[in-house]
Amino acid sequence: MPRDPKKNKSVEDMLQKLPKIEDKRSKHHVYQRVQEELHHQTTKRKKWKLWIPAAATACSIVLIFLIVRSIDFQTNDMASDETRSENSNDANHNMAIQESERQADDTAEEEQAEFSTLDQDDEIRSETYHLEDEGHPELFEVYTAWKINNAPYFIPITIMDPSGGGEFDYFFQDLRRFIDIDENGLQDPQIRLLDFDIRLAESHVNIHMDNQNYGTDNQLTAPMYQKIISLMFAPYGIEQITLSGPHPFVEALSDNNGNMELDVQLMQNVAYKIYQYQVDSPTWLVPISSENLNSLEDALTEMKTHEEVSTIQATIPLDADLNVEREGEMVNIHIDSSSIQDNQQTINMVEAILMSAKSFGYEQVDFEIGIQQAGKYDLSTPVEIPKQMNPIILH
């Protein structure tokens, strides 16, 4: 609908004329209240400061008591019935202590749970999100790529460790610890069979390949391998990777001059759909590339169709009317469809569009889809493109 500048102007005028609402309290009164609250907070903190060492001391005493009792119990294991009876009393006593400790722990856990709930940004909802943009100074992200069984599609999955970590080896030893490949119909990327020298600060990665078994079990080809490695290292801004070793992939991917520098393929011009192996399996965003995807409009149209593989489904309703307008780094996407509501399908669509838009170089998407909220996404304002896709957050 075209804008009516006169009408808008009058709304804007009226907004400017809304009265100033003033605080009638005196400055002294406001200051007093602030001071009281500050004092109250400091006292509370002091009490905590006293309570924590006291609690720690009490716990230590209980622990020492339990250890001593346990040693005592072992020493007297072969003693008389009378002693056994005493030990039995001790055991009962220990159980009583443990029970009281358990109750105390439960209370603490309940309090912690209440605290965590208050700290959470949003209320717990049942929706599944495939994108994550939580800023955390210690967050360590490991990007991985998983090939779907019997189909040439790859799922990028980000393993996020909020405790920091920073050791790729720990993750690469066996990625199957983090993802159930049977439940998800995925192939093991066998990253553990490769030898990595990762220098993110220098934007460089060396991969040594001398294990001839790599790629045989999971039926990888050299181009597939290039895709996996690209999905793993492109998010760190790495553009080239040096390959070495007697593995056939190294020769296959080197250029005519025998140069072993592998170009990292950026995730550009792709359409995102949803992959789900079985009805009760988790869902994942999956990038679909095609020579026909020359614009975001092409990608959005592509996202209306299911893939031939039945496990990969469309993310935009088939009846959707699409309109795309660009404004610098932002793209306005207008979708008209009777199927759009605040539900999981719409969340999937929003997330798939965000990532597809990213692959075409956009940083924000302004959605006009007939609703103002889809799950956690506030669509009344342009949505920033999140950083991590298909996150697995370690606790």
């Binding site: 804008r3 009516d4 009408k7 808008n8 709304v11 804007e12 009226m14 907004l15 400017q16 004329k17 809304l18 009265p19 100033k20 609402i21 003033e22 605080d23 309290r25 400055k27 406001v30 200051y31 209240r33 602030v34 609250e37 500050l38 907070q41 709930t117 208050l118 940004d121 949003d122 209320e123 404004e327 610098g328 780094e329 932002m330 306005n332 924000q364 302004d366 103002q372 909220q373 506030d378 009344s380 304002t381 342009p382």
Partner: protein
Amino acid sequence: MKTTFDHLYDKYHQDLYHFIFYMVKNKEQTEDLLQDVYIRVLKSYEFFKGDSTEKTWLFSIARHVTFDHFRKVKRKRNRFLEFFNWEDEGEKLKANQPIPEEVAVLDDQMQQVYHCLDNCTPNQKQVVILRYLQGFNIKETAEVLNWTTSKVKTTQHRAIKELQKCMDVSTRKEDGNDAERSQKE
């Protein structure tokens, strides 16, 4: 601390009060939230680096405090609704805050604008308040919200559209009531 408080109070108190009031539309809550703003500001004032202006820094804190409040209210409401299993009814409940005297004396149309602000999302509302009631320019608004200027512009456009829609509906309703009244007469 008193000197810092005096400085901030003299320069920004009424503007901050005005901003928070229009966000929550309740004077008591505004007073509580403004107190939280002062506590956060006074605790971190020595760390203020001056990357932004003092004013935009203060408003960004006020905005965070207000959004934290909205989240708490929403969580409490959801728990309450879950407890009674009133989900469908609950979504229809609207905040029924008393109209302040300053607004009660305005004409119907101005009161409509005041009420229609509730039809905007919190993000739209904060843009409208900063831009039209506080007189911030696009760049300053973007700084307060930590957004890009294009995001501010788009959100403002959406908000005005929403307000206009709400005003049109209210006007149509009133016209309908007038016609009904004159028919009865």
